[in-house]
Amino acid sequence: MRKTRLAAFLVLAFFAALLSGTEAAFAAYPEKPIEWVIWASPGGGSDIFVRNMARLMEPYVSQPFVPVNKSGGGGAVGMAYTASKPADGHTILAVTTNFVLTPALGRSPKGPADFDMIARVAVETNVVAVSTDAPYKTWEEFVAYAKQKGGVSWGTFGVGTSDHVASAKLSKLSGIKSRFVPFEGGADSLASLMGGHIDVLTNNPSELTEQIAAGQVRLLGSFSADRWKAFPDVPTFKELGFDVVVPTWRGVVAPKGTPKEALDYLSSAIEKVVAQEGFQKYLAENQLEAAYLNSTDFALFVAEQDLFYKNELKELGLVKKKK
C-alpha cells in the first residue's frame, strides 16, 4: 500500500517536473541559476573578483550565480570547459588579458572566436618596480646602471604573459640586455626583489601596495596609457619616451551563439554594478579601474587586443610566423 502510494507520488512529481520544464523553456531569460566559470583557483585575485561581482549583481538578475573554479593552463581549461557548454546564457566565463594571450601563444584549443563578449569590467596595469635599497631611483638611472653592468635580471610571470611582453618590449627599446626570470607567483618574485636576487620586476601594483607604502619598493614606471590614479607620481613609459602601452583588463564572455538578449541582459546588470560606489572602492583597493564596455564595444576591443598581442608576440619571437 505504502509502496504504491510512493510510486504514484513519484510519477506525479515526474510529470510536474516535466510540465514546469516545458513552461520554463518559454519563460524569459534567465530561467535557471547561471554558472559563472572562474579560470583560477579559489582565493586568488580573479576568484575574489568574480565572487564579489556575483554578489553585487544579484539584485539585478532574477537568478542566482553559481561560481565554478576551472583553473589551469593560463585559462585554457576554463575556456575549453565554457565553450563546451550550451550557448543559452546560463554559463559565462570571467576573463583577463590571457583570453587573447593564451590562444595566441598556441596554448589553448579555444580562443576569442569561440565566445561572444558580454562586457568589459575594468582595466589594470603593470608596473616596473625596484627595491629602495637599489642605487637607481628613476628609469633613466636604471638604464644607465643596466648598460654599465652589461645586463640585468628581470622578474616576470613566465613567458608570453602581459608583463613579459611589456618588459621585453621596453628593454628592447631602451637598449638593455635583460635576462627574464620567470616566477610562479607575485610573492616569490617580490621576495627575490627585496632580497636583492633580481634587479627589477614587473607586476600588477595590487601585489606591491603594502611594500610601496612601507618604503621597501619603488615604482619606476607604468605600462598604462595614462598615469595610474593610485600612483600619480609614477610616470608612464609613454611619457618617458618609449612607445610601450600594454593594457591589461578583465571582462565577461559567454559561449559563441548565446542569444543577444541574454548578452545584453547581463551586460546591463554589469553596467549597474560597475557604477556602484562600493564596487568602485573594491576596484580601487585592488588597483583596478572601472572601464565598462558593452557587448558590442567589448567585442571590438577584444579583436583589437587580439591583433595587438599577436603582433607583439611575433616581434618578440614567441610565436612562429605562419609560413
Partner: protein
C-alpha cells in the same frame, strides 16, 4: 619585554565570548576540512571567507587562522585512520600513523598527532611573536639558488627513505621526478608530456596522485585480503591515548621538528609539506631505533605533525613583517585582511599593533582549541578502525573520489587518482617504496624551476650554487645525506667481516 606586555593586551582583546566562539567554530571547521581529502586549508579559508563579511576584523581573522591551524592538524586524522592524507602536509604521517592504527592503537597515534601538532604550533607562534623581524630578513636571503639547494637537500632524503632497497627506491624517485616534469615548461613555455590534453598543462595534480597512491592502493589490498578471507578480523583497540612516558620519549623529536617546521615554514614557497619530510628524516637519523620507522613508531608521527603545524606560525612571519604571503593559504589570508580594509605587512604593526597582538593571542588559542578538540575526539575517531571493511571501503572510495574531484572540479583528476591507485597497488606488491615518488613529485618541479631561475640570474654561471654560502651549506648537507647509507653499508659490511664465523 614590550612585546610581552603587548601580548597580555592582545589576550585581553581576544578573550571575549565572540572571539572564543570564532576560535572553536573555526577549529572544528578546520579539523573537518583538513581531515577531508582534497579539501585543504587554503580552499577551506576561501570557501568560508564569506562567513566573515559581517564580522569585525579581529574575530574574523582569528576564525580564519583557527581554520588554518585546525586544517593542518586535521589532515593527520584521515592519514592515521584511513591511510588517506587529508592534506599534502600529512603525507608523511601516513607511514607510521596508519601502521600504529592497524596495530590496534589508533587512539595513541591520534593523540600523539594532536599533541605534537599543538606543541609545534605553539612553538611557532612564540617564534612569530618574538623573532619575526630577524627571521624575515633571513628569509629574504633565500634566492632561487638557495631554494634549489634546499630542494636538493630535501630530495637527498630519498636515499634514506629508500634505504632498505636502494635500487627500487631510486626507481620510484625517478618516476616521481619524471611525473613532475609534465606541464608547461616555466622558462620556455613549451608544453611537456601534455599530449594535447588541456588538463595536463598545469602539470600532474598532486592531490589525486597522493590519494591514489596511498588510499586507493590500500583499498585494493584490503579488498584482496577480504576476498582471500585473510582480513575480516579487526585488531582489538588498545592504547587509547599517549602516556607520559610516550611523551617524554618524543620530546627531542618534537622540539627538533618544531624548529625545522618553523624555519622551513618561514621561507616563501617551501612550506608545511617539505618541513614534514625533512623532520621525519631528521627524526629517523637521530633516533636510537631507526629501524622502527615506517612500522608504527611514535617518533614517526610526532616529527611530521610537529613540523607541519610549526609551519603555520612560520608562514605568518613573512606575511606580517614583509607583507609577502609565503604559501597558498597565506595568500588567501591576504584577501581576508583586505575585506576588513587591512593589509598585512610592516605597516600593520605600526598602525594596528593591538590587532596584530590580538591576532597572535588568537593563534595561541587556535592551537589550544584544536588540541582540546583533537584529544577529546581521538577516542571517538578511533572507532573508525572498528568499522567492518565492507562498510569502510566504499566510504573511503567515495571520500577519495570527491577529494580528487574537488581540488580542480575536474573529472580527469578522478581518473588520475584511480590510475595511481593501480600504480600504487603494484608498487606495494613488488615492494617499491611509495614515499620517494611522493617526495620527488613535490620537490622535483620546485628544484627544477629554481635551478633554472638561479642560472638565468647568474647568466649561466653554475658556480653560483657553490659560491653562495647558504646554498653551499644545503648542497653539502644534501651530499652528506646521499652518501650516508653507503657509509653505513660499508661499516656494517666491515663489522660482519670482523665477527668470526661461529659455526
Amino acid at each position: 619585554m614590550e612585546s610581552a606586555l603587548l601580548m597580555l593586551e592582545g589576550f585581553k582583546d581576544v578573550v571575549t565570548l565572540q572571539n572564543l566562539l570564532s576560535v572553536f567554530v573555526g577549529s572544528a571547521l578546520g579539523i573537518s576540512i583538513g581531515a577531508l581529502p582534497g579539501l585543504n586549508a587554503s580552499m577551506g579559508i576561501a570557501l568560508l571567507l564569506p562567513l566573515t563579511y559581517g564580522m569585525s576584523a579581529l574575530p574574523a581573522i582569528v576564525m580564519l587562522l583557527s581554520i588554518y591551524c585546525g586544517a593542518i592538524y586535521g589532515g593527520s586524522i584521515t592519514a592515521i585512520l584511513l591511510r588517506t592524507p587529508g592534506t599534502t602536509a600529512a603525507a608523511c604521517t601516513v607511514f607510521d600513523g596508519y601502521e600504529m592504527a592497524q596495530n590496534g592503537e589508533p587512539g595513541r597515534a591520534l593523540s600523539m598527532a594532536a599533541t605534537a601538532s599543538f606543541i609545534g604550533g605553539i612553538f611557532s607562534v612564540i617564534v612569530l611573536i618574538f623573532l619575526s623581524p630577524p627571521l624575515a630578513r633571513m628569509a629574504l636571503m633565500f634566492g632561487p639558488a638557495e631554494y634549489f639547494a634546499l630542494c636538493f637537500f630535501g630530495l637527498s632524503i630519498i636515499s634514506s627513505l629508500a634505504a632498505e632497497n636502494m635500487v627500487k627506491g631510486l626507481i620510484s624517485a625517478v618516476i616521481g621526478l619524471l611525473l613532475g616534469t609534465a606541464g608547461l615548461d616555466i622558462v620556455t613555455g613549451v608544453p611537456r608530456f601534455t599530449f594535447d590534453i588541456v588538463e595536463l598543462l598545469n602539470g600532474i595534480s598532486f592531490i589525486p596522485v597522493l590519494i591514489g597512491l596511498f588510499a586507493v592502493s590500500q583499498i585494493f589490498i584490503t579488498v584482496e585480503k577480504e576476498i582471500q578471507e585473510l582480513g575480516g578480523v579487526k585488531q582489538a583497540i588498545s592504547g587509547l591515548t599517549i602516556s607520559l612516558k610516550d611523551l617524554v620519549s618524543v620530546t627531542g623529536t618534537v622540539i627538533r621538528s618544531s624548529i625545522i617546521g618553523t624555519l622551513v615554514g618561514i621561507l616563501p614557497g617551501a612550506g608545511a609539506t617539505m618541513s614534514s619530510f625533512i623532520s621525519y628524516n631528521e627524526a629517523r637519523r637521530w633516533s636510537k631505533t631507526p629501524e622502527k620507522f615506517g612500522k608504527g613508531c611514535l617518533e614517526g608521527i610526532a616529527a611530521p605533525e610537529a613540523a607541519n603545524n610549526a609551519a603555520t606560525g612560520g608562514a605568518m612571519v613573512p606575511l606580517l613583517s614583509l607583507g609577502i604571503p609565503g604559501s597558498e593559504t597565506t595568500a588567501v589570508l591576504v584577501g581576508a585582511f583586505m575585506i576588513q580594509g587591512l593589509r598585512p605587512g610592516p605597516l600593520l604593526f605600526r598602525e594596528n599593533p593591538d590587532l596584530v597582538y590580538g591576532l597572535f593571542a588568537g593563534m595561541v588559542l587556535a592551537n589550544i582549541a584544536f588540541f582540546v578538540l583533537g584529544m577529546l575526539g581521538a577516542r571517538l575517531f578511533s572507532q573508525v578502525t572498528k568499522i567492518p571493511n565492507r562498510v569502510l571501503v566504499p566510504m573511503i572510495l567515495i571520500l577519495a573520489t570527491i577529494g580528487s574531484f574537488a581540488e580542480n572540479n575536474s573529472l580527469s583528476d578522478v581518473f588520475l587518482m584511480f590510475s595511481f591507485g593501480v600504480v600504487g597497488y603494484f608498487m606495494r606488491k613488488f615492494e617499491f617504496p611509495v614515499a620517494p615518488l611522493v617526495l620527488a613529485l613535490v620537490l622535483g618541479p620546485m628544484a627544477e624551476s629554481n635551478f633554472r631561475r638561479g642560472l638565468i640570474i647568474s647568466a649561466g654561471d653554475w658556480t653560483t650554487f657553490f659560491t653562495r654560502p647558504i646554498s653551499l651549506v644545503f648542497l653539502a648537507l644534501g651530499f652528506a645525506t646521499l652518501i650516508m647509507p653507503f657509509i653505513r653499508m660499508i661499516r656494517d659490511h666491515r663489522k660482519t667481516r670482523e665477527v668470526p664465523p661461529s659455526e
